[in-house]
Symmetry: C2
Subunit: 216 residues, 2 copies
């Protein structure tokens, strides 16, 4: 079934470039050189196409994340290194889609784009995503016993945000850099940044009292 695959590939690229709402079935079927009606025949609707597309890419990514985390837990037990947990979370989307290959870059933009779509679309995505994030939130908490739970939850959100945003604008940011970086370099920087952010001690005294943010 070549048609179905072709539709998925083209749709993925167009959704990544222009977003879901902005991409029409005409755009997709046109570029894929298949008939306009074939999307509805094969998938049922535009929404169902998106779901199929997300499943195809994200299920393996999240499976890989959990697998890496399991390995860490098995080998390190309670003394897991925070940076390794961050790496287990961040690296699969970067690595599972073949570094700098064209479709790899497409996938990265798609990740970023999806994180920003309208709430109903994002809801479908969250269902796929939330169990994984929960596992990691718990692992972070475990590695950071001195940081309280709410704080860990927020920092996890910050981490996801820096990841999503970076993936989406990866290409445009390059202009500010002196050389065109490999994705793996960006990934390393992101891991570094995220690890430091997660591990920062809760509230430095000067800040807490100077402003309103005191907690207890």
């Amino acid at each position: 079934m070549e048609t179905k695959e072709r539709i998925l590939d083209v749709a993925e690229r167009l959704f990544a470039d222009f977003g879901y709402k902005a991409t029409s079935l005409r755009d997709i079927t046109g570029e894929a050189s298949v008939n306009l009606a074939s999307v509805n025949y094969h998938f049922g609707s535009k929404d169902a196409l998106l779901t199929a597309l997300l499943e195809r890419r994200f299920a393996p990514v999240n499976r890989r994340r959990i697998e890496l985390l399991d390995k860490l837990e098995a080998s390190a037990g309670d003394t897991m290194d925070l940076q390794e947990i961050v790496r287990a979370f961040l690296s699969p989307p970067f690595e599972l889609h073949s570094g700098n290959a064209a479709n790899g870059r497409t996938f990265l933009r798609l990740v970023g784009r999806i994180h920003a779509e309208t709430d109903d679309i994002r809801a479908a995505f969250s269902t796929l995503f939330e169990p994984t994030v929960s596992r990691f939130r718990a692992a972070f908490q475990n590695a950071l016993p001195h940081v309280d739970a709410d704080e860990v939850a927020w920092r996890t959100a910050f981490l996801v945000g820096s990841m999503a945003h970076t993936m989406m604008w990866c290409e445009s940011f390059v202009s500010h850099a002196a050389h065109r970086p490999d994705h793996s370099e960006v990934l390393e920087s992101l891991i570094q940044f995220g690890t430091a952010g997660l591990a920062t001690p809760s509230r430095q005294p000067a800040v807490v009292h100077a402003r309103t943010g005191e907690r207890r």
Copy 2:
């Protein structure tokens, strides 16, 4: 001119909730109880409406950011504290729009949403935004002489990402927290997270430092 203001207010809310493409002029004029043709009369086009809307909110935010940075430079000179630079960058969008008021929350979502719109829309936004980000990138570099320029550029992008993502999904994240946080608490956490991420030493085994959050 009440009509023009009403259109701007409603458009801002709808763009924030559903995105630009997904919001029709009919949605806007319907909710604002003004005539469909009035958008084109007052603004010329849907695009021009968006531009007007962005200018209204972001010009003051960026002016405030620069103002805070100027003050820092004037009082601290070369010994500026990194965290204070981060604060100068992050706090204006949170504070200038009245904390937890309804329109404050709308504005926060708008910020996040805009960062994720299709490239042409985002391009208009970048024009408004890039000069400010450049100033701050330079300030970060100055405060972090031991980190190389590319790295600083990437970390700045990570910071913007965590900010944008947080603003957009602020409301939904709350479910994971034990209590409903004030925006200023989230802001403090974000500043903390960003400062630590920016300040992390370039590439290291980093195990030790990551744990303690130590800078140097």
